[in-house]
Structures are given as C-alpha cells and as structure tokens.
Amino acid sequence: MKKILLIEDNNEVRENTSEILQLAGYNVLSAENGKLGVELAVHEKPDLVICDIMMPVLDGYGTLHMLNKNPDTAALPFIFLTAKAERTDVRKGMEMGADDYITKPFDDIELLNAVESRLRKVEAIRRDIQPTRDGMTELLGNIQGIEDISKISSRQQIKHLKKTRRHLHRG
C-alpha cells in the first residue's frame, strides 16, 4: 500500500482529502503544518507528498525547500494543493520543483489522477532497473548520468537543466 503524506492546516480539508485518499486505497499520514510535515517525511519515508501553501509555522514553499535539501526526501514526488490559484503562484510552485499543482476547490478525481500518475512515474523509473547484472550496469550508467548533470549545473547551465525538468513534469 502506497504511503501518502498530506500536509494541510485546515482541519476539514485535511480530513476530507485524507478520506478521499484512504477510500482510494492509500495509506495516509497527515500533518497540520510544514514543520511537522517535514519531520514525518523524514521518519516515515512516504511515497508522495501533498502539501498546502499557506500554513502556520512553515509554509508550503518552505516545506518543499526543506525536503529538496535533504537527500533522503529530495526525490519524493511533491504535489501542491492550494487556494493560491494565480498563474504566478502556479509558476512559482512549479519552478521550486513541485511535480504538480492543484488549486482549491479541487475535484477528487483530479487529485487521485495526479497522485496515481506521479506514483506510476516513480514506479516506471524503478522498474527499469532489474536486479540483474544488466540492471547493475544500467544503474551505474544512471549514476554516470547524474554526475554529468551535476557537472552541467556546476557550469551554471541552469536553463538546460530546467528545460529537462519541465519535460519531466509534463511526462
């Protein structure tokens, strides 16, 4: 059962969202602010994070930043679920590295589809590497690839990197 971390300060929205996810067969952990959310993410290693933006203590942007900084959580699929519906808000969220951005009020199907597709993507990446010699070679190849990317970013060709990331989001 996939584990989803839900970070949302409004009680009703948190309860309902959690209920929708649970009825769809997910194991849901929830936190009422970003700080608690980051702690849960580190300890519980969820498969995906759904996070509000306007929250007390630590807001959604801060939460995403903290998760990105920690190597253990940096790869977690991250979805913003927020009342901030302006185009500029959406761009900011995506540019910070969110994988999806859903505005309130949200449709349950929309949310479930977003969650499912993010999880499937992660699954697809994982499944590609089989626990065989070939898989091992491929993994090493990937690592090589990662090094290449970090080289590119160290040369500050960030534009290129961003483009690559955007393609990833769209996929």
């Binding site: 300060d9 009825l23 807001d59």
Partner: protein, 407 residues
C-alpha cells in the same frame, strides 16, 4: 579793423531786421523803444507802443503781479537769459495770448535804469511741446493700459495656473484613490480567493465523499459530511456578511439607533451566544454589574461578536478570554482580553485597515475585515477602540462608549 565785410551795417539795421522782438523799458515800465518785429509779434503798428506801459503786453490777469515784479526788479536788476523753463505769455493788441520767451538785461543811463527785453514767439515750439506732451500722455496711457492688460492677463494666467494646480492636485488625489482602490481590490481578490476556496474545497470534497458512500450502512458518514458542508456554507455566509456590511457602511446606509440598555446584560447575551464556537478548553469570563446606557444594541452585539470571535480564533486551545466592563466617568469601557498570538508593533499601525492581516496571522483564516467593520460601527456609535498587545502573550481591545444621554 578798418575794413571788414560788415562795415557800413548800422545797429539800426540789426534793430529793424532781427528776428527777435526788442523792447526797452524805463524805470517806470514805460516802453521807450520797440522794434518792428515786436510790433509784428504783438500786432501793434510802428511806434504805437511808445509811451505805453509794458503791462499792455502782459495777459490781463497778470498785469498787477507784473507791476510788482517789475518794481522789485528795478531796485535790483539782474541779467536773465532766455529759456529758464518758465512758461510766459504775451498779450496781443487783440487780447489774444501767445507763449513767449524773454531774456532780460539792463543798463544805466543818466542815472536811470533801462531794461532791455528780447522776446521770441514760441507758439510753434509750445504747440510742438504740447503735442509731444499729448503724445507722451497718450503713450503713457497706452503704456498704462498695456500694463493693465498685461496685469489682467497675468491674473488670468495665474488663475488658470492655480486652477491647473488644483486640477493637478485633484488628479493626483484621484490617482492616489484609484491606486488605493486598486490595491484594495487586489487584496480583496487574494483574500476572497483564499477565504472562499478553502470552505469550497471542504464542500466539494465532502460532496465527492458522499457520492462514494453508497451503502445504507454509510449513512453516518454521509451525515458527517453533510454537517461539514453546512458548516462550510455558514462560514462562507459569514464572510459574505462581512463584505455586505462593509458595503452598507461604505454607502452610508447604516446609522445607530440608540435605546436604553443594560450594558452588562448585552455583554452576557453575546458571551452566551458565542460560547458555541469556542475552541476546546477555551472559556470566556465576564464581570457582573448593571449599568444603563443609550446604545444601539445590534451594533454593540456586532462589535462584541467580532472582538470575541477574534479572541477565540487567535488564542490557543484552553486559553481564557476575559470581558470587563468599567465605568470611567464620561465613558463606559469594555475590555476584551485574550491570551493569543498578539500583534506586533509594526502591525499595530495598520490594524484597523481594510483587508489587513497581521504578519503572524497570515495562516489563520480571516478576511481582514472584522476590525475595520468594528471601527466603523463604533464611529456610528460615537465610540472608539484602542488596543494593547504583547506578541505571543495576548491582546486587549478596549471599546470606549460615550455616556451622552442625547446620543
């Protein structure tokens, strides 16, 4: 000097042909000699003037004065050249006067004094002068009228400038207002967006969930979500009411309708109503007493409801909220004290501004309208609000209500 071109010209020739009138008068003012030019000037025949007093050549009104003058002069004669800026007039035989210039000189002969006068007719010059003066006058008046016109135009310009300044000020004022309005609008949109979207999320997700609970044993879940929807709707209605009362206040459609009420009873009623929304463990205390005040009951209820729901919203669970009514002479002061998050000094300035949310209140739901509406209500009641606060310790709002009976 025996042979020169003028030889043979007698002084008589000069006397007879010179262009100045020449006149010799004895001590008594009697004309003893005059040349033809003088006769021509004064329209007398040759020698007609001989033996007559010089005053015959003086304008009538001046003859007496001239006699006096002449007598004084004879006692102490002096030479006087022409053109000393004196306007003198001669009198012709026909009585007509004309401007002249005179030079005076004298000589002694056989113990007597004789005065020689050279006279020129300056009618032309006089007329020219008069003309020049007239022209000058005209020029001057033209100048003056020009100056006046310039002054008038300057004034018009000044007025136009002033009007321009006023309209510029009006414009910049309008621009400021427009800017303020715009800012208000954008703040309204962002507030409304957040405050509406959150309860709408609850409603939509509860509806989705009700749809999923299709079995009859799910009735409890359905009811749970129906309650959530109802709460969310009433939350939305409250926000809407805030906006509406703000609109009404803006349009000046509200006024205070004071009547005699016991303030303690009013406070007790509000507290008992609001007790239904306190968070877990929170309690509201209030002091007992009795004091009758002329007051608009509904407005005071709204003010108290607003302040108390703020106290509840910004205080943690289990916190105590205290309401205290005090008679302070000219006014009654109601203090609402909470143990909430407090208000920073920087936020104090804008506390009562429309759509204003404190820096530490951003994550707490609210429209930023409550305190703005409270101040407007208090204005209607001729009251006012003050506040003291310590961050993370709590806030106390004081509403000051005047005791005036006429209110």
């Amino acid at each position: 000097m025996t042979n020169f071109p003028g030889q043979g010209i007698s002084f008589e020739t000069i006397f007879n042909h010179v262009n100045e009138g020449v006149l010799i008068v004895d001590e008594e003012g009697v004309i003893v000699l005059s040349n033809p030019k003088l006769g021509e000037m004064f329209r007398y025949d040759d020698k007609e003037l001989y033996g007559r007093k010089v005053e015959v050549l003086i304008p009538g009104v001046l003859t007496r004065r001239h006699e006096e003058y002449r007598k004084t002069y004879m006692k102490n004669p002096v030479k006087r050249p022409m053109g000393r800026n004196m306007t003198l007039h001669g009198r012709r035989k026909d009585g007509r006067e004309f401007p002249i210039e005179i030079s005076l000189s004298y000589y002694h002969s056989e113990g007597a004094v004789f005065v020689i006068a050279f006279i020129i007719d300056i009618t032309d010059r006089f007329e020219q002068q008069a003309h020049i003066e007239r022209m000058n006058g005209e020029l001057k008046s033209l100048n003056e009228s020009l100056e006046k016109k310039v002054a008038e135009r300057t004034l018009v310009l000044k007025e136009a400038l002033h009007e321009l300044e006023i309209s510029r000020d009006d414009l910049s004022q309008a621009l400021e207002n427009e800017k303020g309005l715009n800012e208000l609008k954008s703040r309204f949109i962002s507030t409304a967006s957040h405050e509406f979207r959150t309860p709408l999320s609850t409603i939509l997700s509860s509806v989705s969930l009700i749809q999923k609970y299709t079995q009859s044993q799910d009735q409890e879940n359905r009811e749970r979500h129906i309650l959530k929807i109802k709460n969310a709707v009433s939350g939305l209605t409250e926000i809407l009411n805030d906006f509406l009362s703000l609109g009404k206040l803006e349009e000046g459609k509200m006024s205070a309708k004071p009547a005699a009420h016991d303030i303690f009873v009013l406070i007790r009623d509000v507290v008992s109503d609001i007790n239904s929304i306190v968070r877990s463990g929170q309690s509201i205390t209030y002091n007992q007493g009795s004091f009758e005040l002329m007051i608009d009951k509904q407005l005071l209820r709204n003010v108290m409801f607003n302040l108390l729901s703020n106290a509840i919203k910004f205080s943690p669970e289990g916190a105590e909220i205290d309401v205290h009514v005090d008679d302070e002479g000219e006014e009654v002061v109601v203090a609402v004290k909470d143990q909430g998050i407090g208000i920073s000094e920087a936020d104090m300035k804008n506390l009562y501004g429309r759509f204003f949310r404190g820096e530490n209140a951003i994550a707490i739901p609210g429209t930023g309208l409550g305190l703005n509406i409270v101040t407007k209500y208090l204005e209607l009641m001729q009251g006012r609000i003050t506040c003291t606060s310590v961050l993370n310790e709590g806030t106390t709002f004081y509403i000051h209500l005047p005791k005036t009976k006429s209110n």
